[in-house]
């Protein structure tokens, strides 16, 4: 296998407690720490391990997003990716259009394996990988917790609601990764220096000749109904009494 493409989305760091803006127009992102979508870091780690085992020769990271997404791509390069592509768009791009952009890159660069996160933790859509597989007409393995490359095939263990499902897919293919696949490496300072010299291609979104998909409009945002802090009991007897009180024991 030659080339692996990994999607890196720039999202609000998972440790940030996000808030809905007071006017309901969106989520407060000013001055908030941004990071690589955690699932995408796992996707990249897996791609790097596959390459390090000699089962692939190039790892390409791609992000569709604002110019600041360069930071996440640089982190990806520091982790070990060979080159990066930034498809620049100041406004968010819908999943089907992202899938179509990836498809264009696949056709242009000849990609054998696409590794994406199982979901982006901002919109929690969980659809880009599946959409890409559908329009590409290639296999998908979603929610992967183990990937064994076997030449022109891969055996993938998927975390599904009833347990673990093992499937075999022919390459090229799309895999979306789950949290238990691996533990991403930390980047070291010398790698960050080295990453500055690696190629990062910047392309404007409108240079892509893709059919624009009708986006789903986000009209308003509201905070979820808050749960009230309840009562504290002093001991197990108090707990049992409280449960009985509610008819739960």
């Amino acid at each position: 296998m030659e080339k692996i493409l990994v999607g890196l989305k720039r999202v609000v760091d998972y440790n940030v407690r996000v808030r809905v803006k007071n006017d309901g127009s969106g989520i407060e992102t000013d001055g908030v720490k941004m990071s690589i979508n955690p699932f995408d870091e796992i996707a990249l780690e897996e791609a790097l391990r596959i390459k390090e085992r000699g089962e692939a020769s190039e790892v390409i990271v791609i992000s569709v997003g604002p110019s600041e997404a360069q930071q996440q791509l640089r982190t990806g390069l520091a982790m070990g990716a060979d080159r990066a592509i930034l498809v620049e768009s100041a406004t968010p791009v819908d999943p089907l259009s992202v899938a179509r952009i990836f498809k264009t890159i696949i056709d242009r660069d000849g990609i054998d394996l696409v590794l994406l996160g199982k979901q982006a933790i901002d919109n929690d859509n969980s659809q880009t990988a599946q959409m890409l597989a559908a329009i590409w007409g290639r296999p998908q393995a979603t929610f992967a917790s183990q990937i064994d490359m076997q030449g022109d095939k891969a055996r993938v263990t998927r975390e599904v609601d009833v347990g673990l499902e093992v499937i075999e897919i022919d390459l090229p293919a799309v895999i979306s990764v789950d949290l238990r696949l691996n533990e991403p490496r930390y980047v070291k300072l010398p790698d960050i220096m080295k990453a500055k010299k690696k190629p990062l291609d910047q392309v404007a979104l409108d240079e892509f000749d893709i059919e624009s998909a009708p986006a789903i409009k986000e009209l308003t945002f509201e905070p979820p109904a808050e749960r009230e802090r309840g009562v504290m009991v002093n001991d197990v007897a108090g707990l049992v009494a409280a449960l009985k009180d509610k008819g739960l024991a």
Partner: protein, 313 residues
């Protein structure tokens, strides 16, 4: 008028309880006509079950050997081939629905509304974003088909007792063989199902070992409850992946949820927001779980849990 096609999740022989909830969501669209499609290698019993669901006017079946296992690349083109009459196609926001529905959307050239938790009107929905830290009201384009997955925990099952007609349909599409099912490893237990049980007892990292999880099982058995866990407990190998509760695990809405030795990270809490009563047992009084718990007990679980199990006799 809206005409909704519901894609029926099943395990090859039994209809999944998610279907009755997806139908409930579809039924909340004004004057919607609802039909269910069952894709299986043996549709008989599954279709029978679907036909009993209230609000369903017709069950369509596609019986093909290729539909023996749910493979998205096999199911999606069949659904696409038969959905031109519909204004909406809905599936559950389970791993089954999440796997196949976006493929249907992409093949139809539209985006998907993921995790519908409320219907405002036929093209306007509410859905959670940022692990439920925000609820977005979204609008799909007026002139295109709506493809959506339904957040199961937001809906109560429709009643049974209906007897909709069952019709088989032929779709002449060629199906790929590039994806092959090998095996399913399931920690199938006799315990109540996590997603539908009225009571859930969940353990976290604090349990410390697979053996210690026995404490959770004993309490759960006493209560007739299902067992859940935090991601940390699953990662550490104390319990299998299918019992994880949260953003990347299961989103549940039991009447009673008892969180034991779980700190209450936002990704965990997003899985239990709709629980009736949340009970937390944690030795750290500052643990965030207490901010959402209806009943909190600051205690060492290794003392409190056996005592509680005992006291519930």
């Amino acid at each position: 008028m809206s005409k909704v096609l519901v894609v029926a999740e099943h395990d090859g022989s039994v209809l999944n309880p998610s279907v009755a909830k997806v139908v409930a969501c579809a039924a909340s669209i004004d004057s919607a006509e609802i039909e269910v499609v069952v894709l299986a290698s043996n549709v008989g019993a599954i279709a029978q079950e679907a036909a009993q669901l209230e609000h369903v006017s017709r069950v369509l079946t596609i019986e093909r050997p290729e539909n023996d296992y749910a493979i998205a690349a096999v199911l999606a083109p069949q659904i696409v081939a038969m959905c031109s009459d519909y204004t909406h196609v809905f599936g559950p926001s389970s791993t089954y629905g999440k796997d196949v529905m976006p493929q249907v959307a992409a093949l139809l050239g539209v985006n998907q509304v993921s995790d519908i938790m409320a219907v405002i009107d036929s093209h306007t929905f509410k859905r959670p974003v940022y692990a439920g830290s925000g609820l977005a009201t979204v609008e799909t384009p007026a002139d295109s088909i709506v493809i959506g997955t339904v957040r199961i925990a937001s809906y109560s099952s429709v009643a049974e007792g209906n007897s909709a007609s069952i019709e088989s349909v032929d779709v002449a599409v060629e199906l790929p063989t590039h994806t092959r099912f090998i095996e399913l490893k399931s920690g199938a237990s006799d315990r109540p199902d996590l997603q539908t049980s009225a009571k859930v007892v969940a353990g976290g990292r604090a349990l410390g070992s697979e053996d210690n999880f026995e404490l959770i099982y004993k309490l759960a058995d006493k209560l007739g409850a299902a067992v859940g866990a935090s991601r940390a407990a699953v990662d550490a190998g104390y319990v299998p992946n299918e019992v994880q509760v949260g953003q990347t695990g299961k989103i549940i809405a039991p009447d009673l949820y008892i969180a034991i030795g779980i700190s209450g990270a936002i990704q965990h809490l997003t899985g239990i927001k709709d629980a009736g009563t949340i009970v937390a047992i944690n030795k750290d009084e500052e643990a965030p779980i207490f901010e959402v718990a209806d009943i909190g007990l600051v205690a060492d679980l290794f003392n409190a849990v056996p005592e509680l199990t005992e006291a519930l006799d």
